[in-house]
Every structure is written in structure tokens, then in C-alpha cells.
Amino acid sequence: MWGKGLVTGLKVTWGHFFGKKETVYYPEEKLPMTERFRGGHLMLDVEKCIGCKVCAMNCPNAALKLTVEMDENKKRHMTSYVHDIGRCMYCDLCIEACNFKALKWDQNYESATYFKEDLIYDAVEEAKNRRDGNE
């Protein structure tokens, strides 16, 4: 009978109308991120970092701009670690390249900004702020 399929389809949609919700109320309710989730800002562990710049060398899009200074004992210190999210592909190659596991994602997926300049940040500064905040 012509129209039987239409009625069957309507039954499906009505069934879901009274069924369980598939979505969450986003800003109030957030989905948990997985352990391996790639996204957000880079968290640099300044204690572990030796300033070898391998992460920047592995970046396919040159999203990392690092400045390293050498002290009188010829020890290298990372003075700035500028990450441009606008250029970042979140490919994870920087983190995988680090032999000292000094880098990880902060897993914050709400990285949209009003201005383009806000996409650029300094991971060393953020590490300092985190440390100051904890003290």
C-alpha cells in the first residue's frame, strides 16, 4: 500500500520523541575527554625541558617559535615557548618527539577566541602562572 513506508518512518521518529535523549546540555554539562585527547594549549614542564628544540623541528607547520638562552654553566634554558594555535594541526608530533616527556596537552577543547592574536600564547609564561597559582 502506498504510504505505508511513510507511516512506518513516522513511528520511528515518534518513538524517539518519547525516548531517551541523545544529547547533553552543553555549557552546563560537559562530556569527559579521553586520556589521549589532543587539543588545547601545550603544557610545558620547564623542569624537564632541556631546550633542545626537537619539538619545533618536528612541527610540520612551524607553529612553534622558541628562544633558548645559555647561562654561564653552558646550560640551556627555555626563555619563551610561543605556540601559534592558528597554525597548529594538533598532529601530536611535537609531543611524541620529546625525549624527556616535557610536553603534554592541557585537553581544554574550548579554544575559540574573539581575536586572532589570542591564539598565540607563551607556554613558559603559562607554566610560571600555574606554578605561582599553586603556591
Binding site: 502506498w2 504510504g3 512506518t8 585527547f37
Partner: protein, 365 residues
């Protein structure tokens, strides 16, 4: 006496049913289509050229951005081509994980096909159903590699991380859900009379024409050719698996839709076999960090969700490819658009785009 003249209508690049930034110049005689000319290049990023200035490992994330709804398959194509060039042997466990991911990705990509097709035919509800189920697969990818669409999970020599038990268990749950999911699609779309009337007998590509256009993937199979690279080349572990190739008869829009539904069943069958026979062992071969394949060239093709995806790589012995050429199935399938639209009415042009299933990231490259 009243005279009429032909009218050229620009569909796109911002038209909601052109799946990205495709512009189609449709020549109309009243409501009937005389010709449809696709205009491409709005999404051209020069990926082939970009790859020439990146190391082999750095090239892999760029392949994610070709066909961004089936990135795992693109990763696989590129990595297998480099492995062929450098003579790298991939561990067996990695091959199984790769196959699971690629087939899950094939299902997710077909969800996008079903969703966008129903949306283009005027049923926005249909899209929500397909995308709801696609979400389940994207969540699985989020567990295994930390990304949902641009996965960058398959690497040269294997996969970057081992599949966790959580992933394998949830994959099995999804595979158990597939029959129920397809049953719901059948009740919602396949049995719908309007849906059938719009699709059956429209935009027919005959068996000869499909070959003439060099089509591949589900589109050529819908026209009656039993052509699947997974069966022909038996790359990876596909030779060990038992699955069928669904083949259509008439090559109309309806066949192209049904083929994809059947392919979801076959993909689920493949994943189940992989889960049952998954061996233990390493997931990554020993690959030098500075990979320098010997001088020479290699071509490797895989069955992407849209057809035959081939990577041709020329190496000059350094750590960067000298030249990469990508044979993109969407680009070649799109040639048939003019043929499919001729003689149809304007509303059918939208169905024709949807059933070719082109993805502009891949067309423009």
C-alpha cells in the same frame, strides 16, 4: 511567437547541498538540465606541493586533510606507499588495528553519505539519525587516538599507540548495534515511498559509462562492476578475511544508496573477524626517526570509502619526498556529474551530487 533561451544557474560554492565549496554551472532549459559543469579549486591548498617540503613523517597529517571524513584510509594509503618504498615490514597486530580503524571509518563515511543524501532530499530528520550513529564511531576514534576526524593515527611502520581494551570492547558493542541501526534506517528511509520515487531510475550510469569515466569505489560497483581494491590487491590482511563485494544492477541513484548500506554490513563483518583473530605483539615496526627511503618510486593504492586512492611517491634518497602525486577518487568520480544530470530536472541534480559523494577536500587536494 514567444521564444525561450537557455539559462545558466550557478549552484554553489555556497549552496548547502554541494557538500563543501563546489560550484556547479547548471545550464537549464526551463526546469530541465542541459549540462552541468563542475568548477573546482575553491579548496585547493596545494597538499602535493606542501609534502615536498616536509619529511615523510610530517606528510602524514596532511593526508588527514584530503578526505577529511575518512582520514584513517588516507593515512593508510600514504603510509603503505612509504612502507613499500622503504621496505618496512609492518607487525601483524598493527595490520589488524589498521583494518579495524579503516573499516570503522568506512562506516562513518557512509553515515555522512546517508545523512547528507537524506538532507538533500528534504528530510533533515534523516541526517540527525545518521550523524547520531557516526558520533559513536568518532567517539571510538577519540579513545584510540585522541582526535575525532583528523586522526593521524596510522603512521609509517604501524600505528602510534596500541588499541586499548576499552576501544576493542566498545567497538564490539558498536558492531552488535549495526543490525539494529540498519533496521532503523530501513524503516525510516529505505521504505519511504517519496525517497524511493526520487531515487529509482534517476541519474543512471551504465556499466560502460562507469568504466569510461574511470569511476571507482561504490559508484562503479553500483553500475555492476565487481571492482574493489581490497579484493584485487589484497593489501594488508584483507586476503585473510572473508567478505563480499556488493554489486548493483542499474547504476541509478537508488543502487548507489543500497550499495553503501550493504557495505556497512560487510565492514561490520570484517571488523568482527579482526576482533576475533587479533594477535598479540608489537604495534610499531622499527622505523628510523630520520627516514630516508632509497632512490626510486612507488605507487600504492587502497580502497578508500570513495574509491581507489593512490599515492605515487618519488624519492631522491633524502628525508623528504621529491614528488608526491595523489590519485583522488572523488576528483575522478565527479567527471560523471554532467552525464548524470543531463535530461534530469534541477531538483535531481542535488541527488546526483549526493550519490556521487564527492568530498571537496579530496577533489581540490
Amino acid at each position: 511567437m514567444a521564444t525561450t533561451e537557455k539559462f545558466v544557474l550557478n549552484m554553489g560554492p555556497q549552496h548547502p547541498s554541494t557538500h563543501g565549496v563546489l560550484q556547479v554551472q547548471v545550464e537549464l532549459d526551463g526546469e530541465n538540465i542541459v549540462g552541468a559543469k563542475p568548477v573546482m579549486g575553491y579548496l585547493h591548498r596545494g597538499i602535493e606541493k606542501l609534502m615536498e617540503s616536509r619529511t615523510y613523517q610530517q606528510c602524514v597529517p596532511f593526508t588527514d586533510r584530503l578526505d577529511y571524513v575518512s582520514s584513517m584510509n588516507n593515512n593508510l594509503g600514504f603510509c603503505m606507499a612509504v612502507e613499500k618504498l622503504a621496505g618496512i615490514e609492518v607487525p601483524e597486530r598493527a595490520q589488524y588495528i589498521r583494518t579495524i580503524c579503516c573499516e570503522l571509518n568506512r562506516i562513518a563515511s557512509h553515515h555522512v553519505f546517508i545523512g547528507s543524501l537524506t538532507n538533500d532530499l528534504g528530510s533533515a530528520t534523516g541526517m540527525i539519525y545518521a550523524f547520531r550513529d557516526r558520533e559513536k564511531i568518532l567517539d571510538l576514534f577519540n579513545i584510540i587516538c585522541g582526535a575525532r576526524m583528523t586522526c593521524h593515527y596510522i603512521r609509517i611502520g604501524g600505528v602510534i599507540a596500541d588499541a586499548q581494551d576499552e576501544f576493542l570492547q566498545k567497538t564490539e558493542e558498536f558492531i552488535n548495534y549495526v543490525p539494529e541501526m540498519l533496521d532503523e534506517y530501513d524503516r525510516l528511509f529505505t521504505g519511504n515511498e517519496i525517497f524511493q520515487k526520487r531515487m529509482q531510475g534517476t541519474s543512471i550510469i551504465s556499466k560502460e559509462d562507469a568504466l569510461r569515466f574511470g569511476m571507482s569505489g561504490p559508484n562503479i560497483r553500483a553500475s555492476g562492476w565487481d571492482y574493489d581494491i581490497r579484493k584485487i590487491d589484497k593489501y594488508g590482511i584483507y586476503g585473510k578475511l572473508d567478505f563480499d563485494i556488493p554489486v548493483g544492477k542499474t547504476g541509478d541513484n537508488w543502487d548507489r544508496y543500497i550499495i553503501r548500506l550493504q557495505e556497512i554490513v560487510e565492514s561490520a563483518k570484517i571488523i568482527r573477524q579482526c576482533l576475533d583473530n587479533m594477535p598479540e605483539g608489537p604495534f610499531m615496526a622499527k622505523v628510523p626517526k630520520m627516514l630516508k627511503p632509497p632512490k626510486g618510486d612507488a605507487y600504492h593504492r587502497v580502497e578508500n570509502t570513495r574509491g581507489e586512492l593512490g599515492f605515487y611517491i618519488v624519492s631522491d634518497g633524502t628525508n623528504k619526498p621529491y614528488r608526491v602525486h595523489i590519485r583522488r577518487p572523488s576528483f575522478i568520480n565527479l567527471q560523471a556529474l554532467d552525464h548524470m544530470c543531463k535530461g534530469m530536472v534541477l531538483a535531481d541534480a542535488v541527488t546526483a551530487f549526493a550519490t556521487i559523494d564527492p568530498l571537496m577536500g579530496e577533489v581540490d587536494c
